[in-house]
């Protein structure tokens, strides 16, 4: 009986000791120092598609260059029936693709009563023609541009697969011969909204 009891006592002590030794291997105990690996990321660069500090879909990704003063005009050749404009450029400098929407269009001076049609149009990332009707304006998507490396999906697209810069212009027509012998100037404000797409090129849920 004594032998059994002493045997159990020995097994208990040795077993408990082994378990405690195993646990001590995973933790720091009984030493006055330990090393901690800390990876710090400071600042942000929205032109770097691998920038670690910017949340997906955040406005911090938006980095677009565009002209903020545009004109359109009628041409003498068409006897002022055709509306045209210079080509304007929009460039996405961001590390993420950006969706550009026309949010508002207002006439701040003059009127478009004698304009039959007026639209803004340009090619998006896939070279598809996109336009927004400014005469009967309805808020909506205008263009989407790839990131500054020409990628929609940062992980899977090859470099320069898509366009990150495009040109747009205004076009339209005026009413019959109204402007043949008349001249008018109008002023407008077009509000564009920018949305940074996610790393996969799709909108990020809020």
């Amino acid at each position: 009986m004594k032998k059994i009891l002493s045997g159990l006592l020995i097994i208990g002590f040795l077993g408990g000791g082994a378990a405690s030794i195993h646990a001590a291997e995973e933790n720091v105990n009984g030493t006055n120092s330990a090393s901690i690996t800390v990876n710090g990321s400071l600042g942000q660069d929205n032109e770097d598609e691998n920038a670690p500090n910017i949340d997906e879909g955040s406005d911090d990704w938006i980095n677009v260059t565009l002209d903020t003063a545009n004109i359109f005009y009628t041409t003498k050749d068409s006897q002022h029936k055709t509306i045209t404009s210079p080509d304007y450029t929009i460039t996405n400098n961001s590390g993420r693709a950006v969706k550009i929407s026309a949010e508002d269009f207002t006439v701040t001076s003059g009127n478009l009563d004698n304009v039959d049609a007026l639209k803004i149009s340009g090619a998006d990332y896939s070279a598809a023609e996109k336009s927004v009707d400014l005469k009967t304006f309805a808020e909506g998507e205008f263009l989407t541009l790839a990131n500054n490396q020409g990628k929609m999906n940062v992980d899977t697209d090859a470099q320069s697969t898509h366009a990150n810069t495009t040109t747009y212009k205004y076009s339209g027509t005026t009413k019959d011969e109204y402007y043949k012998g008349k001249a008018e100037q109008t002023a407008h404000t077009l509000t564009l909204a920018f949305e940074a797409l996610g790393k996969d090129g799709n909108p990020v849920a809020p």
């Binding site: 003063a69 545009n70 359109f72 003498k76 100037q185």
Partner: protein
């Protein structure tokens, strides 16, 4: 994020007016928010007094030695 474009329409005017096109320097959207994230800690100190098993092992070994000594004495007597 939003931006506005000022548009001027020249309707029925001479083309010379249209040639007075001027473009305003490009507008840059810059962000001012700084964030610090992605800090990883891979090791941590245990709480004080959490592990006392070494003392138990030591006392157990002492007890075993005592038992052996006592047993040896008994057999020699």
């Amino acid at each position: 994020m939003k931006s506005t474009i000022q548009i001027e329409g020249i309707l029925g005017s001479s083309d010379s007016l249209a040639e007075e096109q001027s473009t305003i320097p490009s507008n840059y959207f810059t962000s001012t928010k700084n964030q610090v994230t992605n800090v990883q800690v891979t090791a941590s100190y245990p709480k004080t007094g959490e592990y006392q098993s070494q003392y138990l092992i030591f006392s157990g070994v002492c007890l075993i030695l005592l038992l052996f000594v006592l047993k040896k004495r008994k057999t020699t007597e």
